[in-house]
Amino acid sequence: MATPNPAKGASTRRGFLGRLWLWLGGLAVLEGLWITGSILKPRSNRSAADDDAVVVAGPVDRFDPGTVTAFPAGRFYLSRLDNGGFLALSRSCTHLGCTVPWVEDEGRFVCPCHASSFDCRGEVLSPPATRALDLHPVRIENGVVKVDTSTTITRQAFAPSQVVRS
């Protein structure tokens, strides 16, 4: 049975319905992608509202100037500079994310993975790392140092404005 072949582009009921199905199909695909995306989307498991996100490091005078103190549970180091200011340095190497230990004898952080090293301000001393260690915001309330580990500040290099003083 030969149905009359409508000219291309001519709007017929059949053509319209066909296109409608195509659009509906496309819509269904988009919906599927949306659902997949929302399932795959990272859910942050630490937020500022969490009790353990803000680490109470201790009173200011517990930390001598020129020392670095590790906080393994908070995954950061609290560095008190010679001038008395504080920096909370993330322990993840900015090269490929290894955990950098503080080497007391050398007075610097040395990454075991690829030998990048950083000074007590987090500044790069030797590559392959190209960026200074990330920071967490430090607050000093009533002479007590608090570090908010839910926020990570990335930076290219050290700047005096990053230091928090009491």
């Binding site: 990272p42 859910r43 498991n45 955990t99 950098v100 075991p112 993975c113 690829h114 030998a115 790392a129």
Partner: protein
């Protein structure tokens, strides 16, 4: 037909059941029966009844495609068994794997077979790719199957990579840490990509459950579909490429032999041999399982899984964006477009295209095998540290390498007089050997702090 039914009725119940399952001969005795079996058996009918006689010898294909299939089947079988024991959560994963090793009868062997099949598979598929390339099996109707093959390679790498995290030991935890950290170097979307891969900013239970699901569901499903497509495409191209000499023209249909027994026997024999090799290896060497993952302590050195060490090595010498983004993407695009670059007629099936192709190809391989280690050593001596100073100076090293490759191509044309497509082949082989050499350096010649060491000095 009526006679047969009558005959069946005569013979009793068991006979009728048997006939319904196996309507024909199970072990064929004549050529007619052999042909019948191939056409009428579910598994065998994926193969043709007759195959070109020149594709039969082992040294044409080395059975690499079939070996890949055997390894994938071993992986499916052992993987399914291990899923009954494994618990995908950071608190329980390590203990469940250790329990599989220690408390389950043959648990260690099962895990070993899975481990070695996975690692052999990467090597075997790469050799399969190389074989297809060298025999010119990517022209004409086989062009798109080359691309499907690359997708399969990608799927296999994803499978290996996601499986690497599952034991949750120090080795796997830090390897995945570094590999996913590489994603952060992608401009603009790097941070997002990294969080997507990890299911969050750090490697946590979200990462593990994600990797587990990809490893045990997504990858197998994708592999099954892609493998079916790959094999079907081989059938549609009338089997593997028929080997021939340069300039030889094969008129009409090539001479064929029966699939059963000529090819099937060889394939089954090879499958048995390979399985035996995997099982014996797993009996002699146990799959590595280090200490439980400790996010507070990175091992020294920390390395990516071995098949990514070529890229980790690049990261020591190039700017991160070049090493992590530009080179891998350019390589993938180049590989996918390879069949479409325009070749002269009649080079399919000719080993390395021609005599000049062979000569220029071998020269390129030799050059890469010597120049790559030399450049790595020069970079290390020049900068005084494994994390090379050139990493900071931007795109210079990449430009230098591009110039070197250009000079090699011009020199090869002068020396061998090879035409365009053979020079292209020389470049492909050169890059392949560079990747292999970098991977070898990354596996065996990088020690503490990623400094260059001899393999016997590395820990």
């Amino acid at each position: 037909m009526a006679d047969q039914d009558h005959e069946e009725r005569e013979r009793g119940l068991m006979r009728r059941v048997w006939r319904s399952v196996f309507p024909g001969p199970v072990i064929p005795a004549t050529d007619r029966e052999r042909r019948w079996v191939v056409v009428n058996t579910l598994l065998l009918h994926l193969r043709p009844a007759q195959v070109p006689v020149r594709t039969i010898p082992f040294t044409h294909t080395f059975g690499l495609g079939g070996m890949s299939l055997v390894l994938v089947l071993l992986l499916f079988a052992t993987g399914m068994l291990m899923m009954f024991v494994y618990e995908p959560s950071p608190d329980a994963a390590y203990a469940s794997v250790a329990g599989l090793q220690d408390d389950v009868l043959f648990g260690g062997l099962i895990r070993g077979i899975h481990h070695f099949s996975a690692n052999f598979l990467v090597v075997v598929v790469l050799m399969h790719l190389l074989r297809v390339y060298l025999t010119g099996g990517y022209h004409g109707p086989r062009r798109f199957n080359w691309v499907i093959g690359l997708a399969l390679l990608f799927g296999i790498l994803v499978g290996n990579f996601t499986g690497y995290l599952l034991p949750w030991d120090q080795l796997s935890y830090w390897a995945i840490t570094i590999s996913t950290a590489m994603l952060a170097y992608v401009p603009w979307i790097g941070e997002g990509l990294q969080q997507l891969a990890r299911g969050g900013p750090e490697i946590t239970d979200a990462t593990l459950i994600g990797f587990f699901t990809i490893h045990t569901t997504v990858v197998p499903a994708v592999l099954i579909v892609l493998m079916a497509w790959h094999f079907w495409r081989v059938r549609k191209a009338r089997g593997v490429v028929v080997p021939k000499d340069a300039g030889e023209v094969i008129d009409g249909k090539p001479e064929t032999v029966l699939f059963v027994p000529h090819l099937l026997t060889r394939e089954v024999a090879l499958a048995c041999l390979l399985t035996a090799v995997v099982v014996v290896t797993s009996m002699l060497v146990s799959a590595p399982l280090g200490a439980e993952a400790n996010p507070g302590m990175s091992p020294n050195p920390a390395k990516a899984p071995w098949y990514f060490l070529g890229f980790q090595e690049l990261l020591l010498h190039f700017h991160p964006v070049v090493a992590v983004v530009v080179i891998p993407l350019a390589a993938a695009l180049f590989a996918a477009l390879l069949p479409y670059l325009g070749y002269r007629e009649g080079i399919d099936g000719v080993w390395m295209m021609s005599a000049t192709g062979r000569r220029s190809g071998l020269l390129a391989i030799g050059f890469a095998a010597v120049a790559t280690p030399a450049l790595v050593i020069a970079d290390e001596l020049g900068s005084g540290s494994p994390g090379s100073a050139t990493g900071l100076t931007g795109l210079m090293p990449a430009v230098v390498v591009a110039v070197v490759v250009g000079v090699v191509v011009i020199a090869l044309r002068k020396v061998t007089g090879a035409p365009r497509e053979e020079l292209l082949q020389a470049v492909v082989l050169l890059l392949f050997v560079v990747l292999v050499v970098l991977t070898v350096i990354g596996i065996w010649f990088r020690g503490e702090g990623m400094a260059l060491v001899w393999p016997w000095e590395a820990t």
